[in-house]
Amino acid sequence: MTGLIDNLARFLSAIGGFTTPLALFHMAWSTLLGIMIGALPGLTATMGIALITTLTYKLSADLAILVLICVYVGAIYGGSRTAILINIPGTPANAATTLDGFPLAMQGLAGRAMGVATSGSVLGSFIGMFFLATIAPLLGNYALKFQSFEFFWLAIFGIVISGHLTALEDPIKGWIAGFLGLLVAMVGQEGIHAYERFTYGKTELLGGFALIPAMVGAFGFAEVLSVMQNPPAEKAESPRDSIIPKLADVLRYWRTIIRSGLIGTLIGIIPGVGEDIGAWVSYAAARRKSKEREKFGKGSIEGLMAAETGNNAVVPGAIIPALTLAIPGSAPAAVLLAAMFIHGLRPGPLIMVESPQFVYQVVAMVFFATLAILIYGVGLSKLLLKVLAIPRTRLMPVVFVLCAIGSYAITNRTFDIWVMIGFGIIGYILRKMKYPMAPLVLGIILGDLMDKNLRRGLVLTDGDLTPFFTRPICVVLWLITFSSIILSIDPLRHLLREVLRLVWSKSRGPFYRRTA
C-alpha cells in the first residue's frame, strides 16, 4: 500500500515537473508535428522520432524525451485523420481504421468518426499508461515469453485474422492478399544465411521492397486511381454532425474500449510487433464480441473505436519493456530507446532500483501527450473536415504528390518511388477484383518475422516441430488461427457440423443402449 502511495506521489511530482511554460511549449509543437507526420501518408512514427532525435540533441534529457513521446503518440493518432477522410491510412497502424472510418465519412459522419477516433486514442493511451505506471516491471518479463515459436504463429495469426476481417464475404481473397504480402517480403537478402532471394542481381532489391512505399502505393496511389475513375457525382456527403467526442459513444462501448486497451498494451509489450497488430487484434476481438457484428466494415462506431483504442494503447505498452528491460516493444520504441541512451539515460533491468522517478516521468510524458492529442483532436477537426469539401480534381493530384515524396523521404531513393507506382497499379487491379489491401501490407510487415522465426525455431530444435504446437502461447495462437479458417469456409464448417453430429448421435445411441 505504501508502495502505491509512493508511486502516486512520484507521478504527481513528475506531472508538476512538466507544468512549466517551456515544457508546455515543447509539448504543443511536438504533438502537432507528430499528428502531421502521422497524417501524411509515407511519414511514419518511426521516421518522425528518428528525425526529431536529431533535432533535439541540444535539449535537456527530460525535455528531449518528452518531445519524442509527444511525436510518437501524436503520429499514431494522426494517421487516423487521413484514414477516415481519404481512405488512406497515414501510418501502417491505421489500416484497420479505414475499414469503418471511411464508410462513416461517406455516410456524412466524418465528424463523429473523428470524434470516436479521438476518444478511442485518448482512452487507449490512458489504459496503457495505467499499466505502465502500476505493474511495468512485472509485465516487462512477459516480453521474454515470446520466442521464435511464438513469433511464427503470431505472424500467421495476423495474416489470417486480417485476411478474414477485410474480406468478410469472401475470406479466401483476404488470405490470398495476405500470402502475396508474405511473398513480397521474401524478396531480398534473407536474414539467416544472407542468401539473395528473387533479387535477380539487383543491389536495390537486396533489402527487399520497403514497406512504406509499398503501403503508400497500395493504399494511396490505388485510391487516387479509383477515385478518379468513379463518376463525378460520388462524393462524401457534407458532414452534418458534431465533431466533439461524444460521451455516449464512450459509455456505450466501454467494454470494447477496456478490452481493446488491454489487448493493445499486451501486444505493445511483445517485442517486434507494434501498433498495426494491436489495432487488428482489437478489431477482431471487438467483432467477435459485438452485438452488431453485421455493421463491421460498413461504418461501425464500435469497430472504429476498437481499432483506434488498440493502436494507441500499444504506445505505452511498447515503452514498458523498453524501460524495464531495454527491449523495445515496437519499431518507434526502438528509436525512442536509442534516444534515451544518447541522452545518457539508462533504461534496463536496474531502472526501478536506480531511478524509479524516471519511470514516472515517462508516465507523465505519456499523460501530457495524450492530453495534447485530445485538445488538438477537438480543435483541428473542423479544419480537417474542409478536406472533404475540396473537389477531387484538386485534392487527388496533391495526394499523389504527397504519396511520391512520402515514399522517397525515408531513404532518399528514387527506386522507392517506382516501388510505390508498381504497388499502386497492382493494388488498383487487385482492389477492383475485391482483394483487400490491408492484409497485403500486413504480410509485407510479417513476412520477415515468419521466415526467420520458423527457420530459427527449426534450427533450435534440430527440426523438431513439436514445440510449435505444444508451448502454451503457441497453443492459443494456432487454435484461434485454425478455428478462424475452418469456421469461415462453408463446406468445412458443414463437414465439421456433420462430424460432430455423427459423433454425438453415435455416442448417445448405441453406446447408451449397450451400457443399458
Partner: protein, 335 residues
C-alpha cells in the same frame, strides 16, 4: 603507447604540412549534410553515429541529418552514398570491418581504401551466457565447443556481424564447433540469450551492458587484449588468457567520406576530428554509459587500427564458406 603518440604526432605533422603547402580554404557547407546509416534506427551503428552529430553540427555550422537505409548487411546504404554526387555532402557510416568486406561478400565493389575513414568509438565483443547455463567459466565453454557443439547455441546478429566474427575467431583459435542462431540485430540476439532461447551470445558490449549490469547475462570472457572493466559490474577476463592467439580486436565505428570528395572537405573534417570529436564531451559520456572506448582516429592512424579487423573478418568469412572472393586476391594476406 609511446608509439601511438609518435604516430599521431607524425600524422599531425604531415597533415599540417600539407595544409600549409596547399593553402586549402576552410570548407563552409551551404546545405544540410546527410550521414547515411546503413542499419536501422536505434541499433549500435545508429547510436554511435548519432552520439557525435551535435558536435559535428556545431563545428560545421550546418545541420547534419542522419538517414537510415538498412538492408543487405549495410550494402544498400553504402551503395547509395557511392551513387550520390561526390560533393562532400553525403557520408557513409557503420563498422569499419563491414566497409572492408563488402568486396569479399561480393555485395558491393568498394574497398576500405576508397574512403577517408573517421573513427569515433570502439566496442569490444563479449562471450556471455544465460545466468542459468550449466557452464562455470570460459574454459568450460571452450571445452563444450569441442565435446558437444550441439549444446552450444550462440545468438548473433547475422552474417556479417560483430558477433559472428567473434565466435568464428574463437572457433578458429580453439577448434570445435557451435550452433549458429541468427537474429535481426544485436539487441534481439542478446534478448534471446536472456530469455534462454540460446545459451550464449557474442555480440557487442554496448548491446549487452544493461543486461550484464542487471545480472540477466553472465559474461565469461571479452575479446579484448586486456581484461575489461565494466562500470557497475566488475572485471571481465580477456579471452587471450585461454586463447593467446585469438583475434581480439575491438569493432571500430565511424563515418566514411568517399575519396573523390573535394579536398577542402577532407581537410576541414580532419581538423574537426582533431579538435572537436577528440574532445567531445557527449561522445565521452556516451562511451562511458554504453561500455565503449573513445577512438577519435582519422587518416593513416585510423586505417592502421581498422586494417587487422578487416583482414580477420574477411578470413573468418572465407573459412566459414561465406566469401565470394578469396581475401588474398584483393590484397588481404592470411594473418
Amino acid at each position: 603507447m609511446g608509439r601511438k603518440i609518435f604516430v599521431t604526432a607524425l600524422v599531425m605533422a604531415i597533415v599540417s604540412l600539407c595544409w600549409g603547402l596547399t593553402q586549402a580554404q576552410e570548407w563552409k557547407p551551404t546545405k544540410p549534410i546527410r550521414i547515411i546509416v546503413p542499419w536501422g534506427a536505434g541499433g549500435s551503428t545508429d547510436q554511435a553515429v548519432r552520439s557525435i552529430v551535435a558536435d559535428l553540427e556545431e563545428a560545421l555550422g550546418q545541420k547534419v541529418v542522419v538517414v537510415n537505409q538498412p538492408g543487405g548487411g549495410g550494402a544498400i546504404g553504402t551503395k547509395s552514398v557511392l551513387d550520390a554526387p561526390c560533393d562532400g555532402y553525403t557520408w557513409a557510416s557503420g563498422a569499419v570491418k563491414d566497409l572492408g568486406i563488402y568486396i569479399i561478400t561480393g555485395t558491393l565493389n568498394t574497398k576500405v581504401q576508397d574512403w577517408h575513414i573517421y573513427l569515433n568509438s570502439a566496442n569490444a565483443t563479449l562471450v556471455s551466457v544465460n545466468p542459468n547455463a550449466p557452464i562455470k567459466d570460459f574454459a568450460e565453454f571452450l571445452d563444450l565447443m569441442k565435446k558437444d557443439p550441439k549444446k552450444i547455441s550462440v545468438g548473433i546478429a547475422g552474417i556479417p556481424s560483430a558477433g559472428h566474427s567473434a565466435i568464428e575467431a574463437i572457433k578458429r583459435a580453439n577448434g570445435g564447433d557451435y550452433k549458429l542462431v541468427s537474429y535481426d540485430g544485436g539487441a534481439p540476439a542478446v534478448i534471446a540469450t536472456v530469455a534462454g532461447e540460446t545459451m550464449a551470445t557474442t555480440q557487442l558490449l554496448s548491446e549487452q551492458i544493461e543486461m550484464i549490469r542487471g545480472k540477466k547475462l553472465r559474461p565469461l570472457a571479452a575479446l579484448a587484449p586486456d581484461d575489461l572493466i565494466i562500470e557497475g559490474f566488475g572485471t571481465v577476463p580477456s579471452a587471450t588468457r585461454w586463447l593467446p592467439k585469438v583475434a581480439a580486436d575491438p569493432i571500430y565505428f565511424g563515418i566514411w567520406i568517399p575519396k573523390c570528395a573535394p579536398k577542402e572537405v577532407v581537410e576541414t573534417m580532419n581538423r574537426v576530428w582533431r579538435e572537436k570529436v577528440a574532445n567531445s564531451k557527449s561522445l565521452k559520456e556516451f562511451a562511458r554509459l554504453r561500455g565503449q572506448i573513445v577512438a577519435p582516429y582519422y587518416g593513416e592512424e585510423a586505417f592502421k587500427k581498422a586494417w587487422p579487423t578487416i583482414v580477420n573478418a574477411a578470413w573468418g568469412l572465407y573459412d566459414g564458406g561465406k566469401a565470394k572472393v578469396k581475401p588474398d586476391e584483393v590484397g588481404m594476406p592470411r594473418p
